[in-house]
């Protein structure tokens, strides 16, 4: 099995993954200390609701107390971005966790027992994979009513099949390995075999894929919010804030970038968050990928 020290050394050695780690830690810090960085105003119940400075429509540029300015409806961009970090982590971790669990459960069933069970599960995954994920997600969100919760559900629904397949594949490989054969030969129960021998070996590629996916999940969630299916107006969510900016892309004549802060800043947060995870995931992939050995 892989020695973690080696991995750690790689991650630090490679400037890309290092940059990734830096970015992620940065966001983790932001998420943890959000209440200190952008304190929730006195007497506001839900901290995820962005406080408003009046109700005017037109975005107002960065100024005292509003370092990033205020967007349409005078929502504080800075506050939104900071707390948006929390929502981002929330979405990503929840979705990934659920998806991985479903994937492991179904994937190992299919891969280990094969036969009808395998067929059925694989056909089901076909069903999901044969349909554009974004549209399917939209349909689901629209059905459940737009909210972060439904976004998460929708993402889980469209995401699990690929994991199920991945794990199934690995298990198909591993179950042929000698030691599994052996332990089967010794009459170990199939449950035991899966848990003791198969899963531990199948789990690594899954973890890598997961790390690669965290970025993708946040991106998709943002896309859904952007299409107006995700978080409600004024909820601390980057995608939703970008959607808000949508109406203010082009400033008036002679000053086309007047409302740049409303457009650029929330997008930047998404970009760098996803970037962090992708940088890390990419490095992971290189290290683990047995095909690209350590030449």
């Amino acid at each position: 099995m892989t020695d973690w020290k080696f991995i750690a050394r790689q991650l630090v050695k490679n400037p890309l993954s290092l940059a990734g780690i830096v970015l992620i830690t940065l966001f983790v810090i932001i998420a943890i200390f959000a209440p200190l960085i952008a304190p929730t105003p006195e007497g506001q119940g839900n901290p995820y609701l962005i406080p408003r400075e009046g109700y005017g429509a037109t975005p107002q540029p960065p100024r005292e107390d509003y370092p990033f300015g205020t967007t349409q409806g005078q929502y504080d961009i800075f506050y939104g971005c900071i707390w948006g970090t929390r929502s981002a982590f929330q979405i990503a971790l929840v979705v990934i966790a659920i998806v991985v669990l479903i994937g492991i459960a179904l994937g190992s069933l299919a891969g280990y027992f094969g036969g009808i069970l395998d067929e059925v599960i694989m056909r089901i995954t076909d069903v999901f994979l044969a349909f554009p994920a974004l549209i399917l997600a939209m349909a689901i969100v629209a059905a459940l009513g737009p909210s972060l919760r439904s976004v998460m559900i929708a993402l889980c629904a469209v995401w699990w099949p690929s994991y199920a397949r991945l794990i199934r594949g690995d298990i198909l490989q591993i179950r042929e390995e000698d030691y599994v054969e052996a332990s089967r030969g010794l009459g170990a129960s199939s449950r035991r075999v899966i848990i003791r021998h198969v899963l531990p070996n199948a789990i690594y590629p899954t973890l890598i894929m997961a790390s690669l996916d965290i970025g993708a999940v946040v991106l998709s969630a943002a896309a859904l919010s952007f299409l107006g299916l995700g978080a409600p107006e004024g909820y601390a969510d980057w995608g939703q804030m970008t959607q808000f900016a949508r109406n203010w892309i082009v400033g008036p004549i002679g000053d086309p970038f007047r409302y740049w802060y409303a457009v650029i800043i929330p997008g930047m947060f998404i970009l760098f968050f996803v970037l962090g995870w992708n940088l890390l995931g990419d490095a992971f992939r290189d290290i683990f990928d047995p095909k690209l050995a350590r030449r």
Binding site: F6, R9, Q10, K13, R294, R295
Partner: protein, 385 residues
């Protein structure tokens, strides 16, 4: 008579993430004209690296640190320092004057091209002029005995072609043919080169005793048996009748009966091609069968070099002895070598074999033994002598 290859204190190192691997350490070795030199040793003892070093194909992140490899080019009649050669000159030697047969015929052949393509590639690369002149002869004969309206129509075209081919025959790097070779449609004009190459390929395949060669040439690797593949690989290696043929465990992956045939094949080739062979194996039995001389390697260093009988009758180096003991023979219980192969990251000081050596002495720990000639053509690197 000159040696084909003279290797002087060759050192190869790998700079991996885990650390530096001392793959080859101050290796001196000569290959004589027309002989078959065997290199014997456990896996990881640097046999293959030696071979790759000769071809300057040490894979990343390996590096040839120092030393020299001198190759005597028969046709030029002079010596070349391979390690100092320009890359393109080196390329013209690879597969042409020095060629190699790899251990795993399965992976040595590109799955997506036919055997024919892969072999004729060699001809097209190194024998372009020859192919061209053959093509010209073809055209000339067509021109001379071609009759009838159809042919007379084509004749001007043929003349032009034959002029073209003769140009290539003089110098394959002329501008015109090079251009033609690039242009999508005109490239087809050079089909005769390919055609000639195919013919040679088929002969080559016949040469390595492949039945129904013409058909095999059109087959893909996955359609052939392991033995056939290996023959094809050998054919590829011999295509340009090289001065030196490097065979890296050519038989290991084959089953015993095929092995025998292969060894037979090798012996024959050596006789009619007069090539020198560097035969790498971990199997002393095989070595005994094919080799004239044998060199024993351990952990990237040479332990002992001697003619076959000499080595088998009077092995001097403890490691050689141990190896021979380890060969299973009827009526004699098998002895194994204690300990494991030296760690290539931080090899033991002094003689690398000392940790496993039955007759190790204090000095073995400090100092590495030089390779010295103890009797005629019998060299050994051990403090005992």
């Amino acid at each position: 008579m000159e040696n084909v290859i003279k290797i002087k204190d060759l050192t190869v190192r790998f700079y991996t993430y885990e650390g530096v691997v001392y793959a080859i350490d101050d290796l001196d070795l000569d290959i004589r004209q027309g002989e078959t030199l065997g290199i014997v040793g456990e896996t990881g003892s640097g046999k293959t690296m030696t071979a790759l070093a000769i071809l300057r194909l040490i894979p990343h992140p390996g590096k040839i640190e120092s030393g020299s490899i001198v190759f005597f080019d028969k046709r030029l009649g002079r010596e070349l320092e391979l390690l100092k050669l320009r890359e393109d000159r080196m390329r013209s030697i690879r597969g042409n004057k020095i060629s190699m047969v790899f251990q795993e015929p399965g992976s040595a052949l590109n799955p997506v091209y036919t055997i024919g393509d892969q072999i004729s590639e060699v001809f097209l690369l190194h024998r372009r002029q020859e192919l061209a002149s053959r093509a010209r002869q073809q055209l000339d004969s067509l021109l001379s005995d071609g009759k009838g309206p159809a042919t007379s129509m084509k004749k001007p075209f043929w003349r032009w072609q034959s002029r073209l081919y003769s140009k290539i025959a003089q110098d394959s790097n002329l501008l015109e043919p090079r251009l033609l070779g690039r242009l999508p449609l005109f490239r087809r004009l050079l089909w005769r080169l390919k055609h000639e190459a195919k013919l040679l390929t088929v002969d080559m395949l016949k040469d390595v005793e492949i039945p129904d060669a013409a058909r095999v040439a059109t087959q893909y690797p996955h359609q052939m048996s392991g033995g056939m593949k290996q023959r094809a690989v050998i054919a590829m290696a011999l295509a340009c009748s090289p001065d030196l043929l490097i065979a890296d465990e050519p038989t290991t992956s084959l089953d015993v009966t095929i092995q025998a045939q292969m060894l037979e094949l090798f012996r024959r080739i050596k006789v009619d091609k007069g090539a020198s062979v560097l035969f790498i194996t971990h199997n002393l039995g095989v070595a005994a069968e094919v080799c004239d001389r044998v060199a024993v390697m351990y952990a990237g260093r040479l332990c002992e070099v001697a003619a076959v009988e000499e080595l088998f009758l009077h092995p001097l180096h403890p490691y050689t002895k141990a190896l021979l003991e380890a060969v299973p023979m009827p009526g004699k219980e098998l002895q194994t070598i204690p300990g494991v192969l030296a760690d290539s990251f931080n090899p033991p000081p002094g003689c690398r074999f000392h940790p496993r050596c039955p007759s190790a002495m204090p000095i073995c720990r400090q100092e590495r033994a030089k390779l010295k000639e103890v009797s005629k053509d019998h060299m050994v690197a051990c403090h005992l002598y």
